[in-house]
Symmetry: C2
Subunit: 223 residues, 2 copies
């Protein structure tokens, strides 16, 4: 999606950023093999930094590696995605509670701004980016590195299915998301971890259950 800015940072980092975008924006679909040489040629480097980049992405839950066969975007079945959402239901409230006392007024203002854009702009791709931004911002003040990176991994690995779901559910239920976000934001403003955890886990749980009613999202793609 975004073009590669050459010269900035280490090559492996740039390649990782390029592939990360390609996966999160849906240019690379689950199950699709990622050929090292192809990526290297596309970005004008050797295969070596590509290999390093693929390992980094693996650590972020964006790819999986098979010996002598290569890397690909993981293909999850419906139950696995359901469990990931259950993991989020349990971990994200913890992250919120840990983050809440350290959240600055600026960061809360940023969430307000992001939510306003979510309500104004209904483009799918933009929504996915902003929704992610909204939630992850609320965890930025969390003092535990592990917790935040684990949650990021969970978001990463289910991004494709979130997009497919939003695509066929349409904007009809978008108002529910907005209401939940508003209530969550209010609890954060009041620095109330109890209400925060309640609205957050409810938000994730409702999404999980609605997603469970759309098994067609998990139809095997053509090989």
């Amino acid at each position: 999606m975004t073009e590669l800015q050459d010269g900035v940072g280490a090559a492996s980092e740039r390649i990782a950023a390029y592939l990360r975008d390609a996966i999160l924006f849906g240019d690379l679909l689950p199950g699709q093999w990622i050929r090292q040489e192809e990526v290297a040629a596309r970005l004008g480097t050797s295969r070596l930094p590509v290999r390093e980049a693929l390992r980094m992405l693996e650590a972020e839950g964006l790819t999986e590696h098979e010996a002598n066969k290569g890397s690909r975007v993981p293909l999850l079945d419906q139950h696995e995605v359901d469990v990931v959402y259950q993991m989020r239901e349990r971990l994200e409230p913890l992250a919120l509670t840990e983050s809440l006392p350290h959240l600055t007024a600026d960061q809360i203002e940023h969430m307000e701004h992001v939510q306003a854009r979510i309500e104004a702009d209904v483009q799918l791709t933009e929504f996915l980016v902003l929704d992610r931004e909204f939630h992850l911002t609320s965890y930025t003040a969390c003092p535990s590195e592990q917790l935040v990176t684990t949650i990021s991994r969970l978001w990463n690995s289910t991004q494709h299915y979130r997009r497919a779901f939003m695509l066929l559910s349409g904007p009809d239920r978008r108002w529910v998301v907005n209401s939940e976000h508003r209530l969550l934001l209010d609890a954060i403003r009041r620095k109330d971890p109890v209400d925060g955890e309640r609205y957050l886990s409810g938000h994730i749980r409702r999404t999980r259950i609605e997603l469970a009613q759309h098994p067609e999202v998990f139809a095997a793609p053509p090989s």
Copy 2:
């Protein structure tokens, strides 16, 4: 600890296994830099597979990488370890509930056998291995790959602090662990997820709170 079995599997996998053991058994301490060349010379390979191995370990939460400076075992502060334990309190009961219906009689028998050895053998290193084996076995039938690997990462990253804690708390409270394990095992035998989650989260929570009373475990090691 265990010697490298040369010729078996890919080099990077063997190196990863070697380093993994070194970290989990405490030969490599948190904060300690891992020199690629040193490892390569020690194992008779070039630096390249060592780099790959370090990326793999990073994905497992065993090392962290800094650009142009190298990899090292992450150094966690007391609060971060506390949060990791809280994550375990929330995730492991979920894994148990997911695994429970699919656990075979053989696997439960294996847990019984491991627990018997825990009660018999009080060696520290052996205890750490067996305790890990006991819990992870109860999750092996969990159908979600992500959940199990995430939990493994959490165990990995806190292994050193678990050892340090057991070392200075001594075997006095070992009977508590055994009672908790026995109750958990009984709930698993009865295929009762409610009791299983209760005993499991209690087990982890008690450990977390006892660990919180030993801040000396987190004293900065000499540079």
